[in-house]
Amino acid sequence: MGRLPAPLADLQARYGPHLEYAPPGGFAARGEPDRRVQTHCCFCGQQCGVTLAVKDEKVIAVEPWEEFPFNQGKLCPKGVKRYLQSNHRDRLTRPLVRTGRGFAPIPWDEALDIVAERIERLQRLHGPDAMAVLSGASLTNEKAYLMGKFARLAVGTRHIDYNGRLCMVAAGAANLKAFGIDRAANPWADIPLTDLVLVTGANVSECSPITTDYIWRARDRGAKVIVIDPRLTPIARTADLYLPVKPGHDSALMNAILHGVIRLGGVDERFVEAHTTGFDAVRETVAGYAPEAVEHLVGVPAHRIEQAARMWTQAPRTMLLHARGIEHHTKGVENVLSCINLVLATGRIGRPGCGYATITGQGNGQGAREHGQRCNQLPGARDIENPAHRAEIATFWGVPEATLPGKGATAPEIVALAHRGEVRGLLSLCFNPLVSLPDARFTREALERLDFFVAIDFFMSETARHADLILPGSLHEEDDGTVTNVEGRVIRIRKAVDPPGEARRDWEIICAIAARLGKESLFRFDSSEAIFEELRRASRGGLADYSGITWKKIEERMGVFWPCPSIDHPGTPRLFEGGRFAHPGGRARFHAVEHRPPADDVDAAYPIRLTTGRVVSQFLSGNQTRRIGPLVDQYPEPLLEMHPILAGRLGIRDGERVRVRSRRDAIELRAQVVATIRPDTVFVPYHWPGEQSVNRLTHRSYDPVAGIPEFKVSAVRIERLDEVAP
């Protein structure tokens, strides 16, 4: 049933993306707001504080919220223009049902009846796990908690997972292995206090722009900056040292840096002895990664690797920051562990100005991975396969432990199960897999094979176009809740306006479906805060303990850092103080990591490495930002970034349209010839669908532990077209 119900052009004409440029009635009509609401940006994991100006029950502007300590009014262009998603002509305001010629509005009761009836029929015929749930990391903590409970107890499927699978899971799994807990080790206030910032695989300037200021505040105190990236990004431009690593070779490079540090005598033997286990195996492994031995493997000359080792060794305090650049790999977990090895070997953690963090990408990248919407997780970051954890949550929910489903499939695996016909039905909220998953053609085929697909969405995403039913949910500014920012600080999202038309708050929709599935007693919430109250109690005793956090406390303190195990507890901005880690016994664990080649490696037929990422003016799959005119104008289409040496060899001029072909598919893009990327590597941002979707080229290869896709390395070749762009 999942083929497009109407020609694509018809769907685009009706549901967009159209471009919005001005507030309701135009700039001249804007006037003074009736009220101002202090909340946070709806986009990335920095979660900058913003003020939304409201007039006549419409959001008319964003104003800086200078008192919020994390960003002090600072914003990126997305934060400034986010208000243009409110009052947008593309906004879904009525439930829609697929017809022979497109979509038609239907009443809510009818829509909800269909959802319950189709889920029940499908599960009766094919078993409970034939229905799957896909969820998102832009959702509030309350909704993340609700989705996990909904899938396990109302739908009764083990298959629920979220799009954080494309974002945070490699770092999360590695943090859990090494530290026994998965959270940024330090508050961002520690960055300006450090002596050396090492940024690896993080295009800070475009993906977490306000972190740039934190790094410069450190520099103003005399700190040095090392950047590791295949592209010379804006944060790399002024770095004291820049290592242009070959995509897919991060752990080998990090091993080589640690080799250099050991050679310089930089190991903190006292810290390693007192607070860690497993360093001998790491020492033995990195012995094989002498800078001079691996320089051609990693693409960086030995003297630069040694320089990095020297800078790291000499700096009294260090902060290591990484993001998707090292995590989007079939060895994402190993790459992260190789970074943690360097931090632990030198004892650089758990002190002011000294520590480590992954930079979360999605709005609630931290919180949405803690409350049980992951395929392997229960609330409080508990393990769904741990009998004790299962018993705790089953008791808390008042259900027999045996009725709690087990570990389910990851999001990409759910799509593969749909492709194979094992998953027959899908409910999705806050996920646009057709744009965001690798190998987009495969994802489209999977969607087309579903018997039943219901999407909850505020705009009709490319994925929702394949749905049987689309239920209009809520935008960020239309509901109350909390999220947990990049630092582990739990903060308040405040409702500015009500959902328009017949649109409903997401949690109300989920509870209504649960009620129709006969589980009303488990989903009797009268507010988002009531969900939080249940969430915080469910988290008690778990790793991610929110039990001492209340909305009131968050509001009074401008956020509370978890773990916060009791109401009188102030929260925990910095983890691991005094070298105490979360594993039983309190020791951190080293993990020796050997380099492995990327899954889709280059060869004679596909000799160029493609890597993908973001631009500052767009966000993730673009379902929101591709509808905001000033952001689209800033970077209207994906460009193929390539070095003049490569362009010269292929005879390609700047601005020329070229074909990029991988082992899956081919797309055509304009070339941007720039000397700010490795000559053996090309880059394309991934925010676009269809003909412009770079995820048609990426491949379905995953980290064996975390299940994160290898977006950062695909082998491609580049072909000239006959016609040349003017």
Binding site: A61, P64, D220, L232, Q672, A675, T676
Partner: protein
């Protein structure tokens, strides 16, 4: 006393990340709705990701004021050089040609000159300009000279040698700490940064 008597904008291109938050925020201002008075320049994208915001420098002796035949451009007691008064501006674009920093723009639709007025709507009420409030890298800073010197290693400069003529400005540029003079056009071509050298050394 108004903070505007002591505070000004400081521009540090070292920090600029080219994100355009300043441009997008400026376009939100009620006095020039939807149009930005700040411009973001890519220096030479083929070779560098260097970008730089340009705002009005609010010269001590503004060339735009001197060449305006209609007396439309006014420098006030705070030293703020205001955008052309719409009732006087004749759209001749003399100011566009005269400005040594290339700031005023001639709007062909309205036949008027427009330019940055140091966010006078906000700064006259002791609010920071929108561009400097949102700038996520600190490339735009609004405050006093003492504040910026206290917080940063880079040093402010407000004298520019343009074709042998010294131009003093109210808005300052931040010079990297170890520099005393910055040649915008290096006689021997642009200097190579550490990062550029590192990328040229990449093995592949």
């Amino acid at each position: 006393m108004s903070r505007l008597d002591h505070a000004t904008l400081f521009i540090d291109p070292q920090r600029c990340i080219g994100c355009q938050a300043c441009v997008q925020a400026c376009s939100e201002c009620p006095s020039h709705d939807g149009v930005s008075m700040i411009h973001l320049d890519e220096v030479h994208r083929a070779t560098t990701v260097q970008t730089a915001p340009s705002v009005c420098m609010h010269c001590e002796d503004p060339a735009c004021v001197a060449v305006c035949p209609a007396d439309a451009i006014h420098k006030d007691a705070h030293g703020v050089v205001h955008t052309a008064a719409t009732e006087r501006c004749i759209g001749c674009a003399n100011c566009v040609l005269a400005c040594p920093f290339g700031v005023p723009k001639h709007d062909t639709r309205t036949e008027l000159m427009t330019k940055c007025d140091l966010c006078y709507d906000r700064t006259s009420r002791d609010l920071r300009p929108m561009c400097a409030t949102v700038c996520p890298s600190g490339a735009l800073f609004y405050g006093t000279r003492e504040e910026v010197e206290d917080e940063r290693q880079a040093r402010p400069i407000d004298v520019f040698d343009i074709g042998g003529q010294a131009v003093r400005t109210r808005v300052a540029y931040m010079l990297p700490a170890h520099e005393t003079v910055l040649h915008v056009a290096e006689p021997a071509g642009p200097r190579r940064s550490v990062a550029e050298t590192c990328l040229e050394e990449a093995l592949w």
